[in-house]
């Protein structure tokens, strides 16, 4: 068992519990114990892109400090990596290190944490640097390996037509992305290892509309249509995602998209971890399809394919 610090983030604790329930279980199956940070806060979701306001950069750094503290307390030994499922958390935690590469910004945040120390509830020590954020997809690719995944498959997803969708934040910008930003293959490789039939989606790296889902659903509806129509036309039966916000938009906003464009048929959207839980032969409770978190219910499809 490899023990890795694990940062859940708000989404996988609430609207995307199906992601973490399946993810933590398959990690364990593959020999990786995810040890939740004893204390954590919202990562900020997006890195703050202004240079001059340190306050809005603190959130992800605090979490990196908590990883540091886990080592000091001996919860993990010499483990300066932190794993996340959510693409947005991954992106933001990863960017924090890039931000701190600038000595001037590093100094400012150090001073902030130094002054905070005298209060309860603050961090005990500033950030020493070097905590590396890992997306769980990277764990699968680099630590576990596709071959090992293929070996562990109990119930191959034979005949299941799956279209991967990456979204933005695990790919762009290049210095943060986990794969080729124009032509990623991680999800495809995993799906093939599971025995699924991968359907090409030309829009798999396009934006889902992101936070506009709060106040500009019209924009998200257009993008949802755009992101789903090609795979649907090519016969995809399920869309596979890695980000809770993409998933929400692709799944729940199908309602809006269908109103705008009548030719869009409903298609279920699932996290790759859910399909892995099925293929690796885990207990049904780890599929996360029974939690009322899907808009388009994937169960009928899974049943039809003898996967449920």
């Amino acid at each position: 068992m490899i023990r890795l610090p694990y940062y859940p983030g708000c989404a996988v604790q609430t609207t995307a519990r199906n992601y973490s329930i399946s993810g933590v279980a398959i990690a364990e199956k593959l020999g990786i114990e995810l040890v939740e940070l004893p204390k954590w806060n919202c990562c900020g979701v997006f890195p703050f892109l202004a240079n001059d306001d340190i306050m809005r950069h603190l959130a992800p750094i605090r979490n990196l400090i908590h990883v540091q503290e886990m080592n000091e307390k001996g919860i993990v030994q010499n483990e300066n990596r932190v794993v996340t499922f959510c693409s947005m958390c991954y992106h933001t935690l990863k960017e924090a290190n890039l931000f701190l590469k600038d000595p001037e910004k590093k100094e400012k945040t150090d001073i902030f944490f130094e002054r905070e120390k005298e209060f309860v509830g603050g961090v005990k020590e500033g950030y020493k640097g070097g905590v590396e954020a890992l997306d769980f997809l990277e764990v699968l690719k680099d630590i576990v390996g596709y071959d090992k995944i293929a070996e562990e498959v109990k119930k191959p997803l034979k005949g299941l037509k799956v279209a991967p969708y990456y979204g933005c934040l695990v790919l762009r910008p290049r210095e943060i992305g986990i794969d080729d930003p124009e032509n990623p293959t991680i999800l495809e490789n995993i799906l093939e290892a599971l025995g699924a039939e991968v359907i090409d989606n030309p829009n798999r790296i396009q934006c889902c509309g992101s936070y506009h889902t709060v106040d500009r659903r019209d924009i998200v509806a257009e993008l949802t249509y755009d992101n789903l129509i090609y795979p649907v036309r090519s016969g995809a039966e399920v869309i596979v995602t890695c980000c809770p916000l993409c998933t929400f938009n692709l799944d729940f906003r199908q309602k809006d998209a269908g109103k705008l464009h009548r030719d869009l048929q409903e298609i279920p959207v699932m996290y790759y971890t859910q399909l892995m839980a099925i293929a690796l032969g885990l207990d049904k409770q780890f599929y996360g399809v029974d939690l009322g978190l899907h808009y388009v219910d994937p169960k009928p499809l899974l049943e039809a394919k003898n996967l449920y």
Binding site: T14, C42, G121, G122
Partner: protein
């Protein structure tokens, strides 16, 4: 004048809303203000650090930091500039606890602004109860109301966190919702309270109450003074 005598009652110099006063050292801010001639009609309640009415901000000469305190708890220091915050304008939506249910998004439904928290920790620094306010706001964001309830247990709704939060949240009302949810959906029902309520409803204490209501003020005083006090 008094300083020229003995240094028995050492005095400190404080500024209440900009005006200078000499007050005896060792007094609480509240007592010092009363010593200086103020009479509280607001900003004072229990005098014991429980009600949260006496939120106060101050700075000490020569120190840039803006400090927060409860006037009934903090002792005066030489060179304090003091001002009270008698009331915190705060958003307080109406909800029905019976219908709410402990769902994950319950906080975001009634206080969507918690999503604005940037984890700056300013609230924690402000809290005179030494609570980890940022941590409970963050727990609320992910719907963990049990954690919010436990972290905010000692909150007295003084409002200082809300005054300081740069993203304009009202942490203490969010915490109140959490503790209400906790009380309703998690905490075991107190058996003895239920029994006592039954006793009250069945009229067990009516006679005694009636007696008290008819008693004269002097008799009441007598009863009060000779009352049984539970050992600590």
């Amino acid at each position: 004048m008094s300083q020229e005598k003995k240094e028995e009652t050492k005095k400190v110099q404080i500024y209440i809303m900009g005006r200078e006063y000499q007050v005896p050292a060792g007094l609480t801010i509240m007592k010092a203000m009363e010593y200086a001639g103020y009479r509280f009609v607001r900003s004072c309640g229990c005098r014991g650090g429980f009600c949260g009415a006496c939120a106060t901000v101050y700075r000490v000469k020569g120190d840039y930091k803006l400090r927060m305190a409860l006037a009934c708890q903090e002792t005066v220091e030489d060179g304090m500039y003091i001002s009270q915050i008698p009331f915190t304008p705060a958003e307080k939506p109406i909800y029905d606890l019976e219908k709410l249910g402990p769902s994950a998004n319950v906080f975001l439904q009634y206080y969507p602004e918690i999503a604005k928290c940037v984890s700056c920790n300013t609230c924690t620094k402000a809290c005179p109860q030494d609570l980890e306010v940022m941590d409970y706001v963050q727990a609320a964001l992910r719907g963990d109301f049990e954690e919010v309830a436990s972290l905010s247990f000692d909150c007295i709704s003084c409002g200082l966190c809300a005054v300081r939060c740069p993203t304009e949240l009202v942490p203490y009302n969010i915490a109140l919702l959490a503790r209400r949810l906790y009380g309703k959906y998690v905490m075991p029902k107190a058996k003895h309270v239920e029994e006592r309520i039954k006793e009250i409803e069945s009229g067990k204490f009516n006679e005694e109450l009636q007696k008290l209501m008819e008693a004269s003020v002097d008799d009441l005083k007598e009863v009060y003074e000779t009352r049984e006090i539970e050992p600590e």
